[in-house]
Amino acid sequence: MMLEMIATFFVAFWLLVGAIFSLVGSIGLLKFNDSMTRLHAPTKVGTVGVGALLVASMIHSYAFGDGWSIHELLIMAFLFVTAPISANFIAKVVIHKKSCETPPPPTKDETWSTLDIPEADREYTKTEKA
């Protein structure tokens, strides 16, 4: 009885932590005013927000379900692998559409790969803008 109560409190605690971080991420997404700073908000939700919710799920299935549940570790691993890729692609689109400050040139090569338009396509992008 006592153990069940402790487990309930733990689950509630981790649910709260996850919910708070998800809320802060959403507030950040609404509050910031250019697309590059906005991109920072979802990377937060994807890590600690979802992580805390998954910890709550693991504790719950251990205390009330049928023993250890390890699916959550897999969800975490897949999130950690896929989140940076989507963030990278959004950033690339922002740079390509020039809706942010133009980044400074790289120190070791000539230009960034997104801004590196092949010779044959340069004419096309010029006419598109005009």
């Binding site: 590059m36 994807g46 980044p103």
Partner: protein, 166 residues
């Protein structure tokens, strides 16, 4: 003997990883599932070996463990810092900045792990790679001093990754 082993297990680490993922997907550790996972772990790398001809051969697993723990700790700390910035700092006082990081790492796998680490730690997002792959473009949410961010990433993550991918 060694040749046959190489042919059967072109990527021993991938075999191990696939087995572990299969067992995790089943959500229960039984000997049948482990054996089936091992079979999958042998067949899949063998069948897809054509598509990764130049994998990093010298990859060390042991220094990877403290690296993963360090990154998880940093994610926790940075999350709290960024949450504080989101809630208390008005937009006008925010100083976002581009940070250019010259890379010493050569292997594409090492660079993608570094880029992933940078994105996962809140406050920084890796945005682009230079056309020859020797510099990394990072956007920082609040960086009054971009050089400091660059030095921190180079010292904290890249130095450790250089020890993992020798």
């Amino acid at each position: 003997m060694i040749k046959a082993f190489r042919w059967l297990l072109p990527h021993p680490f991938l075999t191990l990883l696939l087995t572990v993922v299969w067992v995790l997907l089943q959500n229960s550790v039984t000997s049948g599932m482990v054996v089936f996972g091992l079979i999958l772990g042998i067949i899949i790398p063998r069948a897809t070996a054509v598509w990764w001809p130049d994998r990093p051969l010298n990859f060390r697993l042991i220094p990877m463990i403290p690296y993963v723990l360090l990154v998880m700790w940093d994610i926790l700390i940075a999350n709290v810092q960024v949450a504080w910035i989101v809630l208390t700092r008005p937009n006008s006082k925010l100083r976002p900045a581009w940070v250019v990081i010259p890379l010493d790492l050569k292997q594409p796998e090492a660079i993608s792990i570094l880029a992933g680490t940078i994105t996962l730690t809140p406050g920084t997002v890796s945005a682009d790679l230079s056309n020859e792959g020797h510099s990394l473009l990072v956007h920082a949410l609040d960086a009054p001093n971009p050089d400091e961010v660059r030095d921190q990433i180079k010292d904290r993550y890249e130095r450790r990754l250089k020890e993992i991918f020798v």
